[in-house]
Subunit: 343 residues, 2 copies
Amino acid sequence: MNSSRPVTIKDIARRFRCSPSTVSRALNDHPAINEDTRKNIQEYAREVGYQRNEVSLSLLNKKTASLGVVVPTISNYYETAVIEGLHTVLQPMGYTLNICVTNENYLLEKEYLSKLLSNRTEGIFLSVSQETYDSGYYEHLENVIQRKTPLIFIDREYEDFETSRATVDDYHGAFAAVEHLISIGYKKIAHLKGPNGLTVSEQRFKGYVDCLKKYDMPVQEELIINTNFKVESAIVPTKRLLDMASPPDAIFGANDQVAIGAMRVVKDRGLRIPQDMGLVGFDNSPISAYTFPSLTTVSRPGRKIGMEASRLFLNQVNGSGDFVHENIVLPSELIIRESSLRI
Amino acid sequence: MNSSRPVTIKDIARRFRCSPSTVSRALNDHPAINEDTRKNIQEYAREVGYQRNEVSLSLLNKKTASLGVVVPTISNYYETAVIEGLHTVLQPMGYTLNICVTNENYLLEKEYLSKLLSNRTEGIFLSVSQETYDSGYYEHLENVIQRKTPLIFIDREYEDFETSRATVDDYHGAFAAVEHLISIGYKKIAHLKGPNGLTVSEQRFKGYVDCLKKYDMPVQEELIINTNFKVESAIVPTKRLLDMASPPDAIFGANDQVAIGAMRVVKDRGLRIPQDMGLVGFDNSPISAYTFPSLTTVSRPGRKIGMEASRLFLNQVNGSGDFVHENIVLPSELIIRESSLRI
DNA sequence: ATAATGAATGCAAACGTTTGAAAAAATTTA
DNA sequence: TAAATTTTTTCAAACGTTTGCATTCATTAT
């Protein structure tokens, strides 16, 4: 009663004066077990709250049914949507997700990967941290590759690694967003860029630049300012844009958060959106539809990414040895709302 | 080279024609091992990418260093803040967090708890799902208690369970919010309530009701409408409020999301905030400071809750047997911003 | 009664690691 | 050179479970 040691098969065996094998078979409904024995043992097991020790089974079968999800953050809508997608597919298959948050920190990422391998995780979904990306380190991944643990990149990738990958087409999403602003008639479009070095930031930035070029519009250094993807980080940059001698008439934010930050500053200055200033975000976060005015944005199918990534993993696990890595790129979709609809 | 079986201590022992014990001791810097042997073995181990199998160690030591975090959702700011708090304290201590999302589903919650126990998780942080709460089921918890696995409730609780618990003082937060609206001079205050049955919803609701009563203001059924805590769910209810013969002049939203939904509807109707309509939310989510007007709200220290919950867990683990359960209630704080500052 | 069958159970090894105690090997001391 | 000491290594058991094979026991057929 006061001993909290979990009851084991051996305990039950002692109680019934039989061998552990018999108990194991009884609990697993093995046919070669006497009906009465089976019933008695099962009943007793239920009574004393027996729960099979999965750790020992993992050791025996070399299967842990657990997967690692290593992400830089979980405080954005998109990341949680991805996790939800992974969950939707993998949970019903008996997998447990081990979510590790690196806070964009290389050392933590490294430690997590090592720990996951030590715990014999059967697969790893990785969105590399910014620090890792910046530094160009990749030794911590070699171990994963060497061990042939399936590794699926989410969003961020190393070009020179042979792995599967699921990504949103940030480039074309950004391109479409800027093209839309141009089509409406905005002439001078600024960009609140995401953190340097991240694939998502750079791809969106590239979409922005290429679109301007396509329409023979100048790409002006002073119209491109960095943020860290958080609301606050858009405040100062936006003020700087508005303080310019000839300020932009539209802003393309690298995500909804910074667009919303910009929206606030613009309105504070008494400018009207979209008449005086056009505004586009990225993510299609739930709140973007309910700002005032509602925010034109680019949808990013996080849930789908999670589900696709799961599929890639399952392919790799179930497939034969000569498995070919896939690179899934899901389209992003421009969602036109009030913040850019100047008539 | 092509065999992906992880290299074990036995493999290394074979290679050096020594016993596994020697290898184990060499890798762990045991003093009774010859310096040369140690160096050779360590070098070779590094070369072949040896990583200790933690599963076998878990079995041996009956320690898994993994903790379960069972929450209904991770798509809100608050929940992720809590997880971050847990993380901050527990990660450096070597614990791995196993995050399980129940989607407010009883069966899933039950399955997760059972799985966590089977995996010999050393502690569980639980915010029970709404379904569980509604149904009043608790058998799935008995197992946890019986096994003496430390169980820390976060926010939601069962009154009749002897466990530790960390919570925000929703009641007084809500009370303060409504009192603030009254002090400003708002006369008819509506409430966009959270899902019925949840402690957080009910406590905030109770704070609202009690505050009205304190100031001899009537509690009117038709001014209290349910939402599901999401932005969209505030739209129809707010419209219904505004369509009333004599509509309210202030709205207290059960969280920031619904307050922001309400804000949108109110502005669509051409009403001014805070002049024609006062508005208060709950959570102090990052975006609430940057809406236009910025949203008066009640801060909810999610990070702190996570850290406190960690502390409760550690107390229970390190403490002596005659451990007394603690019930931490952190204060929430009214953050006054523009949406309620009618002068 | 005995051999042959079938049903029910037990034995032992395996998964990978650690660890106290014993053994072996090397070194020092007398 | 033998004994004593120290250093280094090995043995064996343990963690909890499963499973092929061997064993026991009861039943049936001869």
